[in-house]
Symmetry: C2
Amino acid sequence: MTPLLRRSFVVIGRTAAASADFSLEDLPGSSGRLDVLLRCVRAALLFSHGLRTDVRVYLVLRGGALAPRVLRVDGATARFIRPDERSLALLVQKTLRGAPQLPAGEFVEIKPGVALAAGDLDCVLADLGAAVRFVLEEGAPDLRGSGLVPDEHAAFFLGDHLGFDEATRAELAAIGATAVSLGPLSLHSDDAIAVLSNELDRLQANRS
Amino acid sequence: MTPLLRRSFVVIGRTAAASADFSLEDLPGSSGRLDVLLRCVRAALLFSHGLRTDVRVYLVLRGGALAPRVLRVDGATARFIRPDERSLALLVQKTLRGAPQLPAGEFVEIKPGVALAAGDLDCVLADLGAAVRFVLEEGAPDLRGSGLVPDEHAAFFLGDHLGFDEATRAELAAIGATAVSLGPLSLHSDDAIAVLSNELDRLQANRS
């Protein structure tokens, strides 16, 4: 029996709100498309009637006041994670509002399993430790059948609806993240996470 | 070059509202979990910056007043399909409100690409024509590598958060729907559609 494969998903929101001043009545229009990232939280953490305890999601919030900040949801300790976008938006809004001041570069738990850090990718990289890093890129070699997924901890970096900017792409290359793709079509970030999770579920079932 | 594989996804909402009297401020609590079905519309029809023109989604609405009704979204003609749940809920609410009376068993287009029928699975089956039918079931043989996907038109029946009731399961068996699964874990319906779509994209790319 191999150890449980830990999974981290890091979604980079180029414009997603790092502060609570957005409206639940118009998320796409008022939050810098935080809605894209909220859907990733659902896809990463929830399956049918269950929460994935081996998964962490990092939302890199680069938009608006207080940016950059990183919101981390840990499946091992999170509670009250609902699948609908409005409930997730409310959870994130309360978390962002609950921490106007944060020590630089350090994750502070604001709600059960939901932590916030003042900082950017550097906070995430420090927190990921020895995870094997991958970056999702259209046209890169297929992850399926690649044999690249490690036994212990894999971290996947994904762009939002705008994709990665060049500086981020360079930073991810510099830390040695392996570019992989998931098939012939470029998917929404949450669908990419669903496909990835299924692939990892299958690998894990075959290995154990 | 094989013909384009057409795909239909049929999601059966055991309690999902067939009438417009739900609140956008509390979709899960007021719509019989229509939110589950809305997320399926997004997963089925949208990819990164595009709409899948070869896909139709059928939502079988079995809850509340006016049930059963079937809402059909056709990727070939639909417009203004946005990814966020609230926008999708508004589209569905307007559609349901736009058709208090419908001729029995016949799809009537209410909004561009969005049609409604008074009826249940029978309307869907008539509309699907010669599509090869599959039903998603936990523990059934894996679709991947099965060689079962046809070249022309595949229809997939999925349950909601409650799964299929026994009568529906029997009806799907009676029409010869092949039970298939997508891996070791039971997924949310929208994630199942994302995984299925990726599998079909891969098959189609390999065949063309």
